[in-house]
Symmetry: C2
Subunit: 132 residues, 2 copies
DNA sequence: ATTAACGCAACAGCAAAAGTTACATTAGCC
DNA sequence: GGCTAATGTAACTTTTGCTGTTGCGTTAAT
């Protein structure tokens, strides 16, 4: 895998699940297809389960499945579930004694927040049913 | 210093320079004010010099100064000069055999490119003369 | 009871960034 | 001319976050 791979892994997996929603997949299957490790898969998909996008079942015939219809899951849902950001977060620091620093922080933070919002909007326009 | 500190360091320094453009500053002065190391300062400011935003002079009375008027340097100029990105760059990979992956990559890359463009636009709206 | 799955914690390995040291070069100043 | 104070740069160390890995407990189907 590569940098910022959690989102890639998540989207990739959900994309495939969208194409055959009833099939149960094990983390080992998924890992093999994605070229990574089952534990990593469980780590990432676990977050999606917390967010209500996936369900997992333990035991012999266990594995992972979508928790709702593929066209009811957007790329933004996945992105937000992982709470990792594709936009650098402004450094939240105690207000410094230096006014230049304070003004800059406010400016940059406000720009980044807007950008992040608009990123999420854009991602919300596509569902995982549309990526196969 | 903290994560993504090159841009912070650069903006912070240029902000101060904008307030007193004729004063020559040594990397040691700047490092002290920014709580970092002169070599790090030279590394970062060196990129700004390459981009034509700063000039440096060697030798006894050497140091750093703005290369143009403070109101002719935008935050975008600084951001672009450092060619580090606040928006994660889409992974440029050889087209995979997996169509889901290919479609996703295209979608995500296109969103990220738009977002990056709009970030630069937003940063271009503020000059370093406005942050003090 | 066995087997095959997830859940989780702990640790190892790696890569990028920052920090540091060291030294060459340059330019002002006596 | 020699001294001093600055940049330029390379090499190394340290730190940090992420991925990968191992190990083991728990759960459920057969």
């Amino acid at each position: 895998m590569k940098r910022n791979s959690r989102l890639s892994l998540a989207l990739h997996t959900l994309g495939h699940m969208a194409g055959d929603p009833d099939r149960m997949r094990t983390s080992a299957d998924i890992a093999k297809h994605a070229g990574t490790n089952p534990v990593v898969v469980r780590r990432v998909l676990g977050k999606l389960r917390e967010a209500g996008l996936l369900t997992s079942e333990k035991g012999h015939a266990g594995g992972w499945r979508l928790a709702r219809a593929p066209d009811a899951i957007t790329l933004a849902d996945v992105y937000l579930a992982l709470d990792e950001s594709l936009v650098a977060t402004a450094e939240q620091e105690a207000a410094s004694a230096c006014s230049v620093e304070n003004i800059l922080q406010k400016k940059v933070a406000s720009v980044l927040e807007d950008i992040e919002r608009s990123l999420v909007e854009r991602l919300a326009a596509t569902t995982i049913a549309e990526v196969r």
